[in-house]
């Protein structure tokens, strides 16, 4: 149909997709690039399951038309860590039981990474605010908040210069 080529950098690798300009970044990541760690929840920017980091800012990929992601750098959960080499935030979620059904988890982890980049030592209120756009349908919020606090400690230990 009216597909066009769009080039973006996803998890450090440049890729080109041929899709209509209005295609959602969420669908491009899942269907064209097979990055199925990004989940669709509400599809209207309320739940945060589709969170990715675009040019350093947390966004809901269901609300980003691909034409607006052209040339951008996009980080998904697949770019955060691998099973063999987990990111400290992923480790903290595992250790604290911050994941239940798992649908919200990739978005929660990306929101946490985004938060800790700006606030390496977040207060409890700052944790709640940083994750306020990420809903957990299993309502495991307490353990998620504990995981964020624990992740902040280990990230701070990893980079003492901060």
């Amino acid at each position: 149909m009216n597909g066009r080529d769009f080039t973006l950098r996803v998890n450090g690798a440049e890729c080109t997709v041929c899709v209509p300009a209005m295609a959602r970044l969420l669908d491009v990541l899942r269907h064209e690039l097979q990055l199925t760690g990004v989940k669709e929840g509400c599809g209207e920017g309320e739940c945060g399951s589709c969170s990715v980091i675009m040019n350093g800012e947390l966004v809901n990929s269901c609300l980003v038309p691909i034409a607006q992601a052209a040339g951008a750098s996009v980080l998904t959960i697949e770019g955060i860590g691998e099973s063999a080499r987990l990111h400290p935030v992923q480790k903290a979620f595992l250790e604290c039981g911050g994941a239940q059904c798992g649908i919200c988890t990739p978005g929660m982890i990306l929101a946490t990474v985004h938060l800790l980049e700006r606030k390496p030592h977040p207060s409890y209120d700052e944790i709640r605010e940083g994750l306020n756009g990420n809903l957990c349908r299993c309502t495991g919020y307490m353990r998620i908040f504990e995981a964020v606090a624990k992740a902040a400690e280990s990230v701070a230990q990893r980079s003492p210069a901060e």
Partner: protein
């Protein structure tokens, strides 16, 4: 149910000049899209009737915040995150930074823009009350040139604005004369985070010898468009704030609002809460002179 992306056209010319030329050459054919926090929601739900979009996201000309001694100019494409982080806004216009923090989640604040909030013209938007309180002016641009109007002349009715089909909001101008003023803002929603307001109020004012010298009150979700409560302001000017004038102000505000029942609240609740917020604000305002 879901929209089919190939049914839509979206172009991203990359400069303000090119966007304005397109809007002028085919007036009414193209809808501007910035951060997509409104348009993409309709798109996802299969309810987006417009078919041709021009991206104004990240146009450098619209993302600047410029400040001089007298005023601050916020480019229309600035995100709520930018408003919250900007030192000049935090210092001179804290109500606006606060209202920005009430708008959606962090991810939505990273994409939603101030001009988008105004052009979308939802009566429940959180930034308009602060812009009324700070006496904002709107700079509007098209290939025909630029014009500036008081923000009080921007909203013409439900989802109707002063923008012509070929025009964009270039910037929002705020005069720097409020840092000594009394200020107030409060949002009432179903929950703290990510809730669309049932009521949102912001106000600034100054007293001279216990009498109201200046007052500006902006309220969301009580009329077809964001409301500047100018009739209520008018009966307060020159008066002392006491039980009598507060009762009079409450009555006047009730006659000035036309709230509706909707999914978030009822007209009755909105009337009562708006009058209560007004009273809370006025009592704090009266106490501010003795405190200061």
């Amino acid at each position: 149910m879901r929209s089919y992306p190939a049914d839509y056209e979206l172009v991203a010319p990359g400069s303000l000049e090119t966007v304005l030329r397109l809007l002028s050459e085919e007036p009414g054919q193209w809808t501007p899209i910035a951060g997509g926090t409104e348009i993409m929601v309709l798109y996802g739900a299969g309810k987006l009737t417009a078919r041709k979009f021009v991206s104004i996201w990240n146009l450098p000309e619209l993302r600047e915040i410029n400040e001089d001694g007298e005023s601050l100019a916020i480019g229309g494409g600035c995100t709520f995150t930018q408003l919250r982080r900007h030192a000049g806004i935090q210092r001179h216009f804290p109500l606006l930074a606060q209202c920005a923090s009430w708008t959606g989640s962090i991810a939505n604040q990273n994409r939603g823009t101030l001009a988008g909030n105004l052009a979308n013209a939802s009566p429940a938007a959180d930034s308009p009350p602060a812009l009324f309180a700070y006496d904002a002016e709107i700079e509007i641009v098209s290939v025909r040139g630029t014009r500036r109007i008081p923000y009080t002349e921007f909203h013409l009715g439900y989802k109707k604005t002063a923008l012509a089909a070929d025009e964009l909001i270039r910037a929002i101008h705020l005069p720097k004369r409020f840092h000594q003023s009394f200020r107030y803002a409060r949002k009432v929603g179903a929950r703290n985070a990510q809730a669309i307001s049932k009521i949102c109020m912001a106000a600034t004012g100054s007293l001279r010898k216990c009498r109201v010298e200046e007052i500006r009150i902006g309220i969301g979700s009580v009329a077809p468009a964001p409301l500047r409560a100018s009739v209520t302001e008018g009966i307060l000017l020159g008066e002392k704030i006491n039980d009598v004038t507060i009762a009079e102000a409450r009555r006047t505000l009730l006659s000035e609002m036309t709230p509706i029942d909707d999914i978030r609240s009822t007209a009755e609740y909105r009337k009562l809460v708006a009058a209560n917020l007004l009273e809370e604000m006025l009592r704090a305002f009266a106490a501010s002179e003795t405190a200061g």
